[in-house]
């Protein structure tokens, strides 16, 4: 993608924006914040692509977005913030978001990139500045923790 090709840039942004925003939401639990972070990430991507300093736009976009979410997550107060005017979500989804947000940011990012965005361990490592073994270890630990947390939550609800 060349820096002066606005058409291809627009196509890229149009195609990636929905998925990026969903990933951001899974990371931060707030649609408005997810929208803002995604917009900022893609704006930086567009500006830097025009300067010709972006090698892989997907890696750039997800790496930037995950880092932005990690920084924003420190100030997060609620597990889930619905979008204005939208209906709420099911209790199970709340529990899943809650369990997801009890994981460390890096562990959560690995699960989102691997299981939601479908990147392989190598691409995930490139986005999070981890080697492949670290990605696998984070993924394994994250899934185990998530299963345990969800089990505890379901047991509590059943009880």
């Amino acid at each position: 993608m060349s820096g002066d090709n606005d058409t291809s840039l627009r196509e890229f942004v149009t195609s990636r924006l929905p998925q990026l925003r969903r990933s951001a939401f899974l990371m931060c639990g707030d649609w408005r914040m997810a929208t803002e972070l995604t917009r900022a990430t893609l704006a930086r991507l567009v500006a830097d692509s025009r300067r010709g300093v972006v090698a892989d736009p997907d890696v750039y976009a997800y790496a930037d977005l995950m880092e932005a979410c990690r920084r924003r997550n420190r100030r997060r107060e609620h597990v889930f913030v619905a979008s204005p005017g939208a209906a709420g979500i099911e209790a199970e989804s709340i529990l899943l978001l809650d369990a997801l947000h009890k994981l460390t940011p890096r562990c959560r990012a690995v699960l989102v990139l691997r299981h939601w965005d479908g990147f392989d361990a190598d691409a995930t490592g490139a986005m999070l500045d981890l080697d492949e073994d670290q990605v696998v270890a984070y993924e394994r630990a994250g899934l185990a923790a998530l299963e345990k947390l969800l089990g505890e939550s379901e047991a509590a609800m059943a009880g």
Binding site: T14, R21, L26, L42, A43, R50, A86, I89, W116
Partner: protein, 265 residues
Amino acid sequence: MNGPLNQLLEHVLEGEPELGDEVDAVFRRAARLRRRRTQAVLLAGAGTAGLIVALGYLLTATLLESPPATISTGTAGVVGATPAAPSGAPAPAPPTADGVLEVVEPLVKGRALEVVPASQRRGDGWRAYRIADEQGRGRGTVQVAVFDVRRKWCFPVAAEPDACARPDHVGDLEFARYDDVSDADRQVRQTIARRIGGNRALAVMAAGERAADAQGGKPALTGAQVEQVATDERVLDAFEADENCGDGCPAFATPVRWFPSRNGG
């Protein structure tokens, strides 16, 4: 977990808001970001240029304000910025302290006269000053010179070339006065002095302005004052140890080197 994680996550995303014109918002934000970056680069460039200019100015100002190096120091020191004059050639006196003038000037002022500003001349082993009255009329010159006279030298006698004058003494100095008032239009008062047994003779002469009138022909200093200058230790000390009135030295009514064969000068 009931089912793969990605399927569970799909339910979490229910209630996703519409995108609207989010793509355009991304490009508008990218344009703002680009403008901010451009401004930042320009500001940084301007700041750097300003810093370079300021540093250049400070450096230049510092270098220009540095005083010129002094070639020699002391009462007869010559400032490095002044072109070097040939030995004995007349040259304007520098604005530095002049030990001879410090002795001469009060005596001149005591007679309601003054050393003409910027009239001071100097060379290797000699100093000369033009004197004027309060109306600015010339009253002649006062000149002071130091000579290397060796050991065989004796005080000259104006009327007897082969004779030696018997000097008077004051302190550790010996001196002889050579006043000549035979020409009323240009009277001369001169004293030659030296430290007893020393090898340097100091001549001080005050001569009136020629062809003015009787008043103008009188020297600016009396004979006693000329003697006072010649026997003032400060005057002899005002000359550097290696100074010797040589070529270009002003003439004295009674030459110090009277007879080289006798006086050894």
